[in-house]
Amino acid sequence: MKLKSNKLYKIASLLAMGVTSLLHAEEYPTAEVNTTGLAVTDDTVTVGQLHSITGTMAISETGSVEAERLAIEQINAMGGVLGRQIKVIQEDGASDWPTFAEKSKKLIIQDKVACVFGCWTSASRKAVLPIFEKENNMLYYPTFYEGLEDSKNVIYTGQEATQQIIYGLDWAYETLGTRTFYLIGSDYIWPRTSMKIARNHIERVLKAKDPKCKVVGEEYYPLGHTNFRSLINKVKLKKPDLMFTAVVGGSNVAWYKQLTSAGVTSDKYNMLTISTTEDEVLGIGGENCEGFYSSMKYFQSIDTEDNKAFVKAFKERWGEDSVVGDVTQAAYLGPWLWKKTVEKAGSFDIDKIAAASSGIEFSNAPEGYVRIHDTNHHLWSKSKIGKFLKNGQFEIVSTSDELIEPNPYPEGYQ
């Protein structure tokens, strides 16, 4: 008898749940929320995921794939978007930019996905951008990047260059007393544009405060370069107060290891990087970067309940050994921002989402409160400076007081 009533209770509650979600979906009939023929049915909505799972970028993009999946699963567990469960079609960009373009065409034209979470390098974003604009779809892009872009069809959940760089340089000027800078980067668009902004800020803004401020060296090395001994000797000769670096990928590991082995450690030199997150430190080894600094908007060690819950969920889903870096967190924001936008617009239509994105808030994001800008598709966010610890985590030594405005077309910096 008892068993029976238990069963009855279960059936009743299941029915109730079904009815509520049905009701929820019925409030938004498919014909109304989807007027442009996207892959939306009465109980599902299909989205695309487009990252490199193979090739050289797989190392970096894996974290983003995992974070987006986690967010989508959490949203589905809460009842989905407008009462519809999210289905994912994942494609592999294979670290090859034309492949990215081709796969994005497939996702948009053939699969008619409601939006795409994807891309990592600027090169892959530039490759798919014309397709998203022509076919009118929406890309949620997670990486911090060089700015100088603002498309109706992209939401940039990472920081654009000025948010990351200017705060970092000002902090070094104030806190470390830095006056001479050595700029070092991998040789492609993001580091070059970033260093252009950095040089401009040093020579225009910081120099106005103290005429001693100057750039003593600026160098770029090919992607994948692993021999930095000559560069290290040049740094030793010029003795800059700060090495400001944007070295990426496999080069990163060689760079830090060779610094340590050449005696360039944090007790004698300062370094501020805009490219090294917890993900990279896994490969570099904490002992090789201990004491240097990184300028990001997110570190895994942020001490808030929201972040702890996120890190815990991430580790439960993807393994105890996994770490969360800046881009991984930004990728996690994508599906949530999309859900909030769709609910605000009451529609999956791309034009309505593009318009409704302005001012979308996510107040319990792991990094803290963020908001999409009113006039561009970037996020207001707080910049932070983290100090590398030996265990591969960061001690956050500074957080900007205010949210920093995204400014993809900075005046005077171009």
Binding site: Y221, R229, N233, G250, V253, A254, G283
Partner: protein, 308 residues
């Protein structure tokens, strides 16, 4: 450029830069050594060569991970086991590869090129599937990190010294092995004339298999030491293979002496260029100069004396 610096500073930088060049020479030799054995002794161009370097690196990384996880007190000494292990694993894989693939293709050199290239792609995907796409690096013992500072302004990397010693030991070891031992004699006679050696009672099949596996094993050791300067990822080999071939081709394809000299030439050139130019421009000039040298000496700096 130098006016504002003291003589002492410039002297220190010059010494460190020279040592940097020497380290680079060693790395080039380590990269090219296995390729040289396979090509110089067997006439096989092994496009999967770099993946054997990567096998060595991964063995080292996994060994260090195991030690860190299970017996952290052993961390200062695990190198002595990890390096022979890198050799062993690469040797074993080389043995199997020769048996399954290369041995069937000795009479078809062009097919070997294609087959080993395919093999390199298969191996890359295996690394990615079974070990993971993320970059790995070995935890080094404390004594291998940091630098030795003979004066206040000079820092000599300790891992550079270790790599230097390894390169000298491996190279001289290889010379002694091929010149002074029975196995070496069999290797050389097989490479000079396979049919005649067979007629004289040398088991050329086993000799070939051993030579190939030995070359892979040497690459494994090279790879193990490369983890002290850079990281390992499934596709790390694609960066090594260019340098390895460059050194070998420039050195004349078949001579160990040529290999060392061309490694020295490349190291010297890139150290000088990188010091006076920015990184990317130095690379452009480096390849341009190599191009000119190869156009002038079409058979490399030291062409092989071995009849083929």
């Amino acid at each position: 450029m130098f006016a504002e610096y003291s003589f002492e500073e410039i002297k220190s930088i010059l010494i460190m830069q020279s040592f940097g060049g020497l380290s680079l020479l060693c790395i080039y030799v380590l990269m090219g050594l296995g390729l040289y054995v396979v090509f110089g002794q067997m006439g096989v161009i092994n496009m999967a060569h770099a993946e054997f370097l990567v096998i060595g690196s991964y063995t080292m990384c996994l060994a260090s991970k195991f030690v860190v996880d299970h017996m952290p007190t052993f961390i200062n000494h695990y190198l002595w086991i990890a390096i022979p292990l890198s050799f062993g694993v690469a040797f074993l894989v080389g043995w199997i590869v020769e048996w399954l693939l290369i041995s069937r293709l000795y009479k078809r050199p062009l097919d070997t090129l294609l087959a080993t290239w395919g093999l390199s792609l298969i191996m890359q995907q295996c690394f990615r599937t079974f070990i993971g796409a993320r970059e790995m690096s070995a935890t080094l013992p404390d004594w291998l990190m940091g630098s030795w500072a003979p004066t206040d302004t000079i820092d000599i990397p300790i891992n550079g010294l270790v790599i230097l010693a390894t390169t000298i030991i491996l190279t001289t070891g290889l010379v002694i092995f091929t010149r002074k031992t029975r196995w070496g004699l069999r290797m050389r006679s097989t490479s000079q004339n396979r049919d005649m050696s067979q007629a004289l009672g040398i088991n050329t099949k086993v000799t070939d298999r051993f030579t190939f596996a030995l070359a892979c094993g040497i690459s494994g050791i090279g790879g193990a030491f490369l983890t002290t300067v850079a990281s390992t990822s499934p596709t790390a080999g694609t960066a090594y293979i260019v340098d390895a071939f460059l050194v070998l081709v420039l050195g004349g394809l078949g001579s160990l002496f040529g290999l060392v000299i061309s490694a020295g030439f490349l190291a010297l050139l890139s150290s000088i260029l990188e010091f006076f130019m920015t990184g990317s421009m130095a690379k452009v000039w480096l390849y341009l100069i190599i191009f000119i040298v190869l156009a002038k000496f079409t058979k490399g700096l030291f062409s092989s004396k071995v009849r083929t």
